[in-house]
């Protein structure tokens, strides 16, 4: 056989910089974070980010890689998480003897993984027979069913209060008691890295490739000898498993699970985070998880309207930036290394200016509107300017920058399409 191996497969150095290096940098970053003097609150935020990174990546195994739109992915995180909270209690009850007495809390994500896989295998069996709209509708039904059922079975799901556990029980693992937040941080960091590497490796397996092939053209897959239903089903099990792993991480971090965790709300949130991050890139869901978790925990301190901003952002991404944050980041990286970088930088600055103008108006309108509607008589006063709902200045700032911003953005778009 004649071979052109050299022209086809990437070289060892390309493989290193494209595949190994990002993970090494990621690992280093994870190790360094606690040393830069962050507060307990910030570490908790990082822990939630880690959980959501694994969750979002597992969701993208379905949405981005397999082309399956699920509205119920939180079911697998929830079931994995519940299982792990129960295990926390079994470990505590076993008090050092028997099987559970010897299970370190550090290993819980493995049990979450197994539970997620089992749930995926059972629920996926009927749901993966169809792709497209039917699959999406079934996932929606399953999510509703599971969260309703969770409220009915109190002994398993603990009713409205949920079930809680104690992560400090059981044998120590490498001297980790899992009590202090730093130790939990390293636990989360370890499993985030494991999950990320494993899910990246999955994209490079025959099954991972077939899942992309099935997304692109399920019919053709049949004519290269594969059953697309089987491909979807297997991918679904893995997506459930990694979501369950995130559930195990969450069980240790928060030590509680409630039936709400199985509902449509967290399922919708992870859909939005994944999409905003960018479903066509492996790293996209990571960006999305970081941004969404940060916004959820910090923006809510500043404004009651943060969900509205999130919604606007989601719609804008769907309409104008379908490749998400990852698309922007990689586009920027390509752009600044291209010969036309100065023209591009000019374009970007103009676009940022346009966006800033639009955002100014949107923020003023939203902030004024909800203060006016809640009836407490609060007045939105940024930088000391009073902006009451019936003030002329309010409506000038609420409209003129918006119009100016839209004009600027349209102009950039037009010159772009002419070029």
């Amino acid at each position: 056989m004649t071979t052109n191996m050299t022209t086809l497969a990437p070289s060892a150095s390309e493989k290193f910089t494209q595949r190994a290096l990002p993970f090494i940098l990621f690992a280093l970053l994870l190790i360094v974070i606690p040393f830069i003097g962050v507060s307990r609150g910030t570490l908790t935020l990082f822990n939630h980010i880690g959980i959501n990174i694994v969750f979002a990546l597992s969701y993208n195994m379905l949405l981005g890689r397999a082309g399956l739109l699920s509205f119920g992915h939180a079911v697998y995180l929830g079931l994995g998480g519940y299982f792990c909270v129960h295990i926390l209690n079994w470990i505590a009850d076993a008090d050092g003897s028997g099987f559970w007495g010897n299970v370190p809390v550090f290993s819980l994500p493995i049990f979450g993984f197994a539970m997620g896989a089992l749930a995926g295998a059972i629920i996926g069996w009927p749901s993966c027979r169809r792709a497209g709209t039917a699959f999406a509708m079934i996932s929606l039904g399953v999510a509703e069913l599971m969260s309703t059922a969770a409220f009915m079975f109190d002994s398993l799901f603990g009713g409205e209060m949920g079930i809680s556990g104690d992560r400090m029980s059981g044998p120590k693992f490498f001297g980790l008691s899992m009590g202090p937040i730093e130790q939990v941080y390293y636990f989360i960091a370890f499993w985030t890295l494991v999950g990320t590497v494993a899910m990246y490796a999955f994209t490079r397996t025959p099954l991972g490739r077939l899942s992309e092939a099935t997304r692109d053209n399920a019919e053709r897959v049949q004519f290269i000898g594969y059953d697309p239903t089987r491909v979807r089903y297997l991918v679904f099990i893995f997506a459930g498993a990694f979501a369950g792993m995130a559930g195990g991480m969450s069980a240790v971090q928060d030590e509680i699970f409630t039936p709400d965790s199985l509902s449509l709300i967290p399922s919708g949130a992870i859909l939005i985070a994944t999409y905003i991050g960018g479903i066509r890139f492996f790293a996209g869901p990571i960006f999305g998880a970081i941004l969404m978790t940060y916004m959820g925990s910090n923006l809510s301190d500043y404004t009651a309207g943060w969900l509205l901003y999130l919604g606007l952002m989601f719609i804008s991404v769907v309409l104008f930036v379908p490749d998400g944050i990852a698309g922007l980041v990689f586009g920027f990286w390509r752009g600044i290394r291209s010969p036309g970088r100065y023209a591009l930088i000019g374009k970007w600055i103009t676009q940022i200016l346009g966006l800033a103008l639009v955002a100014t108006s949107v923020i003023v309108v939203v902030e004024v509107a909800y203060r006016w509607s809640d009836g407490y008589g609060d007045v939105f006063a940024p930088f000391g300017f009073d902006l009451p709902h019936n003030g002329a200045l309010t409506w000038v700032i609420g409209t003129l920058p918006l119009l100016a911003g839209i004009l600027i953005l349209r102009r950039v778009k037009r010159t772009e399409s002419e070029a």
Binding site: M1, T2, T3, N4, M5, T7, L8, A9, A201, F202, R204, T205, P206, L207, G208, R209, L210, E212, A213, R215, D216, N217, E219, R220, V221, Q222, F223, I224, G225, Y226, D227, R230, V231, L234, F238
Partner: protein
């Protein structure tokens, strides 16, 4: 005579009340290059869809190397050694040319649904991929996303994916449709080379291609085969000439002359 590679016995296919295939009998010997021609709407594509498992026959038997395949799902028919191309390019548009071919090789290379190995670590898989790409002349475009290929290159990729899995019976559905004259010549040469030693069944409108390539020709009209024979027998057959009216009949003559 040895066992036929492909045998259709009294195959019928109806969609509701519309009887598209009405008692199709066809036998293709091992290693034969067989063309199916016929006017538009005669049921040629339906015939391919029945053989390849895309449709289930209403009645009748379809034998691939003596094994019943009628009504089996397409992926099982494929695993039994039959591969087909499509009239409209049917590729994995968001993947590169190399990935398209590599995916088409996975099953025949014994990778199944594996999730425990890396596609990059199988040397055989890489070599076979490169070999297929070189054979069809797409090696220089290996890293191009399939959606960005020119039309003719997409058709070539379609053929590459069809032959990649080493099936011994190859069905090609209008492989040169929409190609220019020089592209057609190139495609015919490619088909001849790539299907050497294999059984080929081809549906084609270009009579030049048909008469140049086929060992035997079957003429399908209104869901029935009205004639089967060597190219010169078909050319002279009055039934065939009357089935083809006007321009088509002329094409038959021109094709015969070419």
């Amino acid at each position: 005579m040895t066992e036929a590679a492909l045998q259709l016995i009294d195959v019928h296919k109806s969609f509701g009340h519309a009887k598209i295939i009405q008692g199709l009998n066809l036998e293709v010997a091992k290693g034969e290059r067989h063309a199916i021609i016929g006017p538009n709407g005669a049921g040629k594509s339906t015939c391919f869809n029945l053989i390849s498992g895309r449709f289930r026959p209403t009645s009748g038997r379809i034998l691939l190397n003596g094994k019943e395949v009628g009504g089996k799902p397409a992926f099982e028919v494929n695993r039994l050694g039959l591969s087909r191309s499509f009239q409209v390019s049917n590729i994995f548009a968001n993947m590169t040319v190399r990935e398209n071919v590599r995916c088409s090789l996975l099953y025949s290379q014994g990778h199944g649904y594996a999730f425990w190995r890396n596609v990059g670590s199988s040397r055989e898989l890489q070599e076979k991929t490169a070999w297929v790409l070189e054979r069809v002349g797409l090696i220089d475009k290996a890293h191009t996303p399939a959606a960005l290929l020119s039309y003719a290159d997409q058709r070539t990729l379609e053929i590459a994916m069809t032959i990649a899995g080493d099936a011994d019976v190859i069905l090609l559905d209008e492989p040169t449709a929409g190609m220019s004259h020089s592209e057609t010549e190139y495609a015919v040469e490619l088909i001849r080379k790539a299907t050497e030693g294999k059984t080929l069944v081809i549906v084609e409108h270009d009579m030049g291609v048909v008469f140049g390539l086929a060992d035997r020709i079957s003429v399908l009209v209104y869901g029935e085969i009205i004639a089967t024979g060597k190219p010169e027998e078909i050319r002279g057959d009055p039934k065939v000439r009357s089935a083809y009216l006007g321009d088509d009949a002329e094409a038959l003559t021109l094709g015969g002359a070419a």
